[in-house]
Amino acid sequence: MKALCWTGVNETSVESVPDPEILNAHDVIVRVRLSTTCGSDLHLLGGYIPAMRAGDVLGHEFLGDVVEVGSAVRKHRVGDRVVVSSFIACGRCAYCRRELYSLCDNGNPNPAITETLWGFAPGGCYGYSHAMGGFAGSHAEYIRVPYADVGAFAVPDGINDTTALFASDAAPTGWTGADLVGIEPGDVVAVWGAGAVGQMAALAARTRGAERVIVIDRLPERLAQAERYVGAETLDYSAENVPQALRELTGGRGPDVCLEAVGMEAHSAGLQHVYDQVKQQLRIQTDRGAAVREAIHSCRKGGRVFVLGVYVGVLDTFPLGAVMNKGLTVRGAQMHGQRYIPEILARMERGEVPSAHLATHVMPLDDGPKGYQMFKAKEDGCVRAVFRP
């Protein structure tokens, strides 16, 4: 089959690779209909997560049709159109039973790497380096889905492919942050990043009772989407002093909740960006923290910060003093897709989760390398490049 492979730093190619096989009784094989780039792929693409091997198949956000079913699968049959959670979870361990699926004890066959780096291993993820299990990704004609009864969800007929695609990762990531951060009715929520995850986090905040949602980015086309599809207020950080603007917008208090949806390659203005870039390139720190610093700085006293952007290791100049002295609650997570996808699909069916607009550039898988280039450079207003194998 054809697949889009990582071949080196900022290099990908479409190659002929072996078809996936059923390896466990709980597996299904899915023929991919659509598979999208994700901002977190850029960390892999750029070599910031050094657990990639040339030849690895990229992609973790997808939907498709079931074409083969393992002997222990009960929920799915050949022909089902399914959307699949990007994180791989067994559904049976203590973490899964508590609906913390991305923390699954049994979903990562390479636990030593992340145990060594972080103390414990989270679950696995498709196409997301050998640190997250080394599973082949979804930018391919076919993909193997382990624990299919837990991670794959039938898509109701009333939802089109392009909308349902984002129930795989972007929407449940947003839901994870907005739900676990504990939004209360009347809260003012600020979201850093107006990409797909940021927009979905802003939308999810609305479902949890946020009174006002303010989205921060520098790209006008993304801010326009956040205004149009989420009804959010927006701030352009390249033109405004964000903490000052947030204070002005919130009666001097600061946002009650700050959702950071940017991650380890955050851009910022001035010396901070130079400082972070130099330290990251020299591998003195692994992550650039401009967005998370600003979220912590801007958050009101006693407020809550949720880190949704992907970080891999260590960050210099983390404002721990602000966390302690302002009494903040800081939390983070990879997404618990299996927990939120049913709600998201139900809302999509009712037209409450506009997401098809995120797929600004749909193209054949053969154009994958060009798609990643456009997505990385944000050319032509690219919010997400989506591949059709």
């Binding site: 697949a3 072996p18 030849g55 198949v57 004890d105 145990e115």
Partner: protein
Amino acid sequence: MRTTTALAAGGLALAVVLAWRWRGAGDDEAAPDERWLVLTVDRPPEEVAAELSGLLTDEAVEVAIRPAPGDRGSELAVRAVGGTPSRDDLRAALREAKQLMEVGEVLRVDPRPAGRRAATPMGKAMDVATSFAGRKGVL
């Protein structure tokens, strides 16, 4: 080119850190049989004891099972009595036993679809790291 060099340096540093920590955490010669390897299985102790008899039967392995607090199942501890099996083998067996008891099968990942595996120093380092990744760690 600059990015590639930096990546190689970063990858090498990661490999060194992993090797150092793995040695410290699980080296057979440095810490023979002293520490138990322990994990929590989300099943009641009596069920763990019953199923374990078919999974970890080596007479050279000492096994302890106790209830985990807060409805978290059972804490399962093992250690080799006389130096064998190695801690790496024991760790891998313990992880597999947990998966069998909780899920009913051991998750596999190979063979997997992949493109051309270019022969590079970084690639070699990653191959070495992944060959140990199921048997090493801090467990």
